[in-house]
């Protein structure tokens, strides 16, 4: 492929960077195949980031717990979530490309301030609590690695702030995509620790129930898996990311491919986390938290494996933190009309960057408070995210049926059938979760069920 760069000048007016003139640079390639590959690589990013960042600290904890308690029996649920993840985020891609605006701005403009305010408050509340859990995981992993969290946590927070302060969307995206690609280490972990491939495929493809049947604990874990795989912040994050990157109508098919590949990577990584948990079960360890699980695995697989799992836990928390904090800052910036682009330097988007900084610093600070009720916060986050998710998706579904807004990009009838089915299932699960957490005695200790 022989490339050259052409530079010419044109006026542009991206969100918050009006009145600037930027050079337009195009790369010249000689074949259609090279053109398609290069276009994909240029569009690639938001889909992978949103999906991999979804495998955050809470997800590592949930998937490894599922493996540590039920072996590989729940793999099929994770696989079932692949199309769900894709269909929901694909709607966000269409909305982002068609409007060039973030999700919070869309809700404000199309549903009015009252609904917009509720959505924003819901998002900020769940996001902040989730951030606390990310830093709690960093704290836990650093402690297990022998690093004093009093230094490690502020250092991680400072790194996360520096990451966005480069004044370049591309620089931020490249660093974060690199961190996302580190997630492939989970494949190696699973390969080293995992059961035979045949067993993994069998439990991933053919639904089965663990010995003991359907119990409240199993239900809770299944709902937690669903809740951790699809989160409200993802809708806001990917749409704002697409708007900030200024994806064009012609980029839609590549953005869809990016999202699909992201969904495949995140689901496969989730399977690997479950397989790692299953390895600790095979060796007779009782699951308490993922950091302890890493230490248990280290007892039979060596300290290098223990440290690798702990590092991957920190990487998951870092990815989750940057994506969630950005979704909060983008959403607030859109609603307040502040300049809100990673392309802007600090001095031109002080409100946007300050909110990001406040989110990160406050969450890190809470984690360092001695005897902070972190376990309660984690529990609250899981339930709140589960409760809020169906409502967030309903707004998305209504926006995607807004033909005045989207025209040919609006949902087709088959999209609606798929999406309303997903919403109905999520609603039922959120009701069960809320009922189970708020009134645990409502459910019998065991419902019984088939075993394999």
């Amino acid at each position: 492929m022989t490339n050259k760069t052409l530079t010419l000048t044109a006026g542009v007016s991206p969100a918050g960077v009006e009145d600037q003139v930027m050079p337009v640079r195009g790369r010249v390639v000689k074949s259609k195949w090279s053109r398609d590959l290069l276009t994909f690589l240029m569009v690639f990013g938001p889909g992978l980031i949103v999906m991999v960042a979804d495998n955050d600290a809470g997800a590592v904890s949930t998937y490894s717990q599922a493996g540590a308690q039920y072996g590989t029996h729940l793999l099929w649920i994770v696989l079932l979530l692949l199309p769900v993840c894709y269909f929901i985020q694909e709607m966000v891609v269409r909305l982002g490309i068609a409007t060039g605006k973030g999700h919070a701005a869309m809700i404000y403009q199309r549903f009015g301030k009252w609904w917009g305010l509720f959505s924003l408050v819901d998002l900020q509340l769940v996001n902040f609590l989730t951030l606390v859990t990310e830093f709690a995981a960093i704290n836990l992993a650093l402690s297990k690695m022998g690093v004093d969290p009093r230094y490690g946590v502020p250092l991680a927070a400072a790194g996360l702030v520096m990451l966005v302060l480069t004044g370049s969307y591309r620089r931020w995206e490249r660093i974060v995509v690199f961190l996302c690609l580190l997630d492939f280490a989970w494949f190696w972990i699973a390969f080293r620790l995992g059961p035979p491939l045949g067993q993994i495929v069998k439990h991933a493809v053919f639904p089965s129930m663990p010995a003991g049947g359907i119990t409240p604990d199993l239900m809770f874990l299944v709902i937690a898996i669903v809740g951790t795989t699809i989160a409200p912040w993802q809708l806001f994050f990917q749409q704002s990311c697409i708007a900030d990157k200024r994806l064009r109508f012609a980029d839609l098919k590549w953005a869809r491919l990016d999202t699909f590949l992201g969904a495949c990577v995140t689901v496969t990584a989730a399977v690997c986390m479950m397989v790692a948990g299953a390895a600790s079960l095979t060796h007779g360890f009782h699951f308490t938290d993922p950091a302890q699980m890493a230490a248990d695995i280290g007892a039979f697989a060596g300290p290098a494996m223990r440290d690798l799992i702990l590092l991957m836990m920190i990487n998951a928390a870092v990815l989750g933190t940057t994506a969630i904090s950005l979704s909060s800052a983008w959403a607030y910036g859109e609603v307040r009309g502040w300049p809100h682009s990673l392309q802007l330097p600090w001095r031109e988007a002080r409100g946007f960057y300050s909110l990001y900084l406040i989110c990160v610093a406050a969450a890190a600070g809470i984690v360092l408070i001695p005897r902070a009720p972190l376990q309660l916060i984690i529990l609250g986050v899981q339930v709140l995210a589960g409760v809020i998710l169906p409502s967030a998706i309903i707004f998305l579904q209504l926006l995607l049926n807004d033909k005045e807004l989207l025209g040919e990009y609006a949902n087709k009838p088959w999209n609606n059938w798929v999406n309303w089915t997903i919403i109905a299932v999520l609603f039922i699960l959120s009701l069960i979760l809320a009922a189970q957490v708020t009134a645990p005695n409502l459910f019998p200790s065991a419902v019984g069920g088939p075993t394999t």
């Binding site: 010419l8 542009v12 000689k30 053109r35 409760v387």
Partner: protein
């Protein structure tokens, strides 16, 4: 170095030659005209949709309060 007004022109011209293509990063490209969402105003909603959204909001407030109550009880 070209003196072309926009990369769109460049691509059109290259498409006719079929021997090379220009790929422009979205951030380097001229910004596309998108739907003018502000001019559209609020979405027209039927009474059923409005009532459904209100019920959803009431459900959410109730659930959040229940969760907060439960967490506070657990903290004691």
């Amino acid at each position: 170095m070209g003196t072309i007004a926009s990369p769109m022109d460049l691509e059109t011209r290259n498409e006719t030659r079929k021997d090379h293509f220009v790929v422009v990063h979205p951030l380097d490209d001229v910004q596309e005209t998108k739907v003018d969402t502000e001019a559209l105003g609020p979405m027209p909603m039927t009474r059923t949709v409005r009532l459904s959204l209100l019920s959803l909001r009431a459900y959410l407030i109730l659930m959040v309060l229940m969760v907060v109550y439960h967490v506070v009880m657990l903290a004691r």
